[in-house]
C-alpha cells in the first residue's frame, strides 16, 4: 500500500468514536481507517475514552427482572463463534465501501457529469451526502468552494489541488475557507469517495445551473 500522508483530524476521529457523525462521513472515516493503521490505532484510543465515559456514567437503577429478561433475549443460545478470517483478494474498495456499492469498482453504476467526470451517489441518511467520483487522468473537477465540510478520500490514482497532492488512502478535509480546483494526475483515472454536509459552491455559472440536475 502506498504511503498515506493525509489523515483524519482528531475532531473527526472523536466524533466517529462518539457516534455523532452523519452516516455519509462515517463511511469515509471507516474507509480511511480500513486503509490506515495510524488512524485505526487513534480511533481505538478515542474508543477507550468512550469506555472511560461509560465507566464513569451514573448508574441508573434497573428493574429487578432485567437480568432474567436479558437471559430470555439470549434464549439459551451459545455465543456465536468467530468466523475464521482469511486474507481476502486485493480490491480497490475496502469492505465498508463495498457494502454501500454492492461490490468493488467494477460494480459501480456510474452516471456521466460531463468532461469525462462520472459519479455514483450512495445511499445515506439525509444529514449529509456521499458519492463516488471518477475523474479521468489530467481532468479537473470544476473550481468550487464549500458551505459546510467536505471529506474526500482517494481510492485510485491521485489528484492535486492548491494545497497538496492526494494519493491512494489520503483524505482531504475541506471547510468553508478552502476554495480549490482538484485536478487528477495524468495517467490512471482518479476515483474518490466524497462526502459533504452542504451543497458545493461552484464559481462559474454553467456548473451552478447544472447543480440541481446532478445533485452535487
Amino acid at each position: 500500500m502506498s504511503q498515506i500522508n493525509h489523515h483524519l483530524t482528531d475532531a473527526l476521529l472523536m466524533a466517529y468514536s462518539a457516534g455523532t457523525l452523519p452516516e455519509a462521513f462515517s463511511l469515509v472515516v471507516a474507509t480511511h481507517i480500513s486503509m490506515c493503521d495510524e488512524c485505526r490505532a487513534q480511533a481505538g484510543s478515542f474508543d477507550s475514552v468512550g469506555g472511560q465515559i461509560l465507566d464513569d456514567a451514573t448508574s441508573e437503577a434497573i428493574s429487578d427482572d432485567a437480568l432474567a429478561a436479558t437471559l430470555r433475549l439470549i434464549g439459551g443460545a451459545a455465543p456465536e463463534p468467530r468466523a475464521p478470517s482469511t486474507r481476502r483478494a486485493p480490491s480497490t474498495f475496502p469492505l465498508p465501501l463495498q457494502d454501500y456499492v454492492g461490490g468493488d469498482v467494477d460494480a459501480v453504476r456510474w452516471k456521466r457529469l460531463g468532461g469525462g467526470v462520472r459519479q455514483m451517489i450512495l445511499p445515506s441518511s439525509s444529514e449529509a451526502s456521499v458519492r463516488l467520483l471518477y475523474i479521468p487522468g489530467g481532468a479537473a473537477v470544476p473550481d468550487h468552494g464549500h458551505r459546510g465540510t467536505e471529506l474526500t478520500i482517494v481510492l485510485q490514482g491521485a489528484f492535486r489541488d492548491e494545497t497538496d497532492r492526494f494519493g491512494v488512502g489520503d483524505i482531504e478535509v475541506a471547510t468553508e475557507d478552502l476554495e480549490h480546483k482538484p485536478v487528477a494526475e495524468p495517467g490512471v483515472a482518479c476515483i474518490c469517495l466524497a462526502a459533504t454536509d452542504a451543497p458545493l459552491k461552484f464559481n462559474s455559472v454553467i456548473p451552478r445551473m447544472l447543480q440541481p440536475l446532478f445533485k452535487i
Binding site: 482528531d10 475532531a11 473527526l12 472523536m14 466524533a15 468514536s17 462518539a18 457516534g19 455523532t20 457523525l21 452523519p22 452516516e23 462521513f25 463511511l27 471507516a30 474507509t31 480500513s34 493503521d37 485505526r40 487513534q42 480511533a43 481505538g44 484510543s45 478515542f46 474508543d47 477507550s48 475514552v49 468512550g50 469506555g51 465515559i53 461509560l54 465507566d55 456514567a57 451514573t58 448508574s59 441508573e60 434497573i62 432485567a66 437480568l67 436479558t70 437471559l71 433475549l73 439470549i74 451459545a78 455465543p79 456465536e80 463463534p81 468467530r82 468466523a83 475464521p84 478470517s85 486474507r87 481476502r88 475496502p94 469492505l95 465498508p96 454501500y100 459546510g148 465540510t149 471547510t175
Partner: protein, 218 residues
C-alpha cells in the same frame, strides 16, 4: 481453575483468540494446544475474565456479575445521551444480550471490557436513536498464529488506567466537554470548532497498539 483449549487447525476458536505473536511467559505451549493457566486468569484485566468465561463456558454467573456492573451504567449513559428511561432500560438489556452473543469477538489485547461494551452501546444508540447504519472499518486479517497475548492485554489495561487518571485530572470544564461529545451533545462541527478540547492530552496518554499494529502489518 484450569482452562484448556484445544486448537486444531484454523478454527473459529483460534481466530477468536487474536493474532498476536506468542512469545511470552504466561502461556504454556504444546503443539496444537494452548493451555492457559490459573495464573493467566488472575492476571486478566478487570471484567475480561467474565467475558472470556462467557465465550468459553457460557458462564451465566460471570454474565450476572458483568450485568450487575455494566447494565446500570449503560442505562445511565443512554439517559445522559437523551433516551427516555424505559428506552434506555430496553437498550441496556439488548446491549448486554449482544455482549453474550458476540463474546468471541472480544479481544482483551485490543480493547478493555469497558471500551468494547461502550462500542456496543454506542452502536445501539446510533441504531435506535439516530436510525442510521454505522459503517465499520474492515477488520485486520488474522494471522495463522492466532493467540491472545496476555502481555498485550496487561499493557493495554495499564494504558487504560493512565487514561482514566488523565481524564480525572482534567479541569472540570474540559472533562465536561469530553462528556458532552460522547453523550452526543456536540455535533461534529461544534467539536471541530471547540478549541478547549484536550485532544492532545488524550492521544499522548494512550498510544494503544499503534506500534504493534505497525509490526503486525509488515
Amino acid at each position: 481453575m484450569n482452562i484448556q483449549m484445544n486448537i486444531v487447525g484454523k478454527t473459529g476458536a483460534q481466530a477468536a483468540l487474536g493474532s498476536y505473536s506468542a512469545n511470552h511467559s504466561l502461556c504454556v505451549r504444546v503443539p496444537g494446544k494452548v493451555q492457559l493457566t490459573e495464573k493467566d486468569q488472575s492476571a486478566s484485566p478487570q471484567w475480561a475474565t467474565e467475558i472470556l468465561a462467557i465465550r468459553d463456558r457460557q458462564d451465566q454467573v460471570a454474565f450476572a456479575r458483568l450485568f450487575q456492573h455494566f447494565a446500570p451504567r449503560i442505562k445511565g449513559f443512554l439517559i445522559k445521551s437523551g433516551s427516555p428511561a424505559d428506552v434506555a432500560e430496553d437498550c441496556a438489556q439488548e446491549v448486554m444480550a449482544t455482549v453474550w452473543r458476540k463474546a468471541a469477538l472480544f479481544d482483551p489485547s485490543r480493547a478493555s471490557a469497558s471500551t468494547w461494551i461502550f462500542t456496543i452501546a454506542r452502536n445501539k444508540r446510533i441504531d435506535v436513536v439516530r436510525r442510521e447504519r454505522r459503517p465499520e472499518p474492515e477488520d485486520l486479517p488474522w494471522g495463522p498464529e492466532a493467540e491472545a497475548d496476555q502481555e498485550d492485554a496487561l499493557a493495554l489495561e495499564q494504558e487504560t488506567e493512565r487514561l482514566s487518571k488523565a481524564i480525572s485530572a482534567l479541569p472540570e470544564k474540559q472533562r465536561a466537554l469530553i462528556q458532552r461529545a460522547y453523550y452526543g451533545d456536540l455535533s461534529h462541527r461544534e467539536l471541530a470548532e471547540e478549541t478547549g478540547l484536550p485532544l492532545g492530552t488524550i492521544k499522548s496518554r494512550i498510544r494503544l497498539a499503534l506500534d504493534r499494529l505497525r509490526h503486525e502489518m509488515k
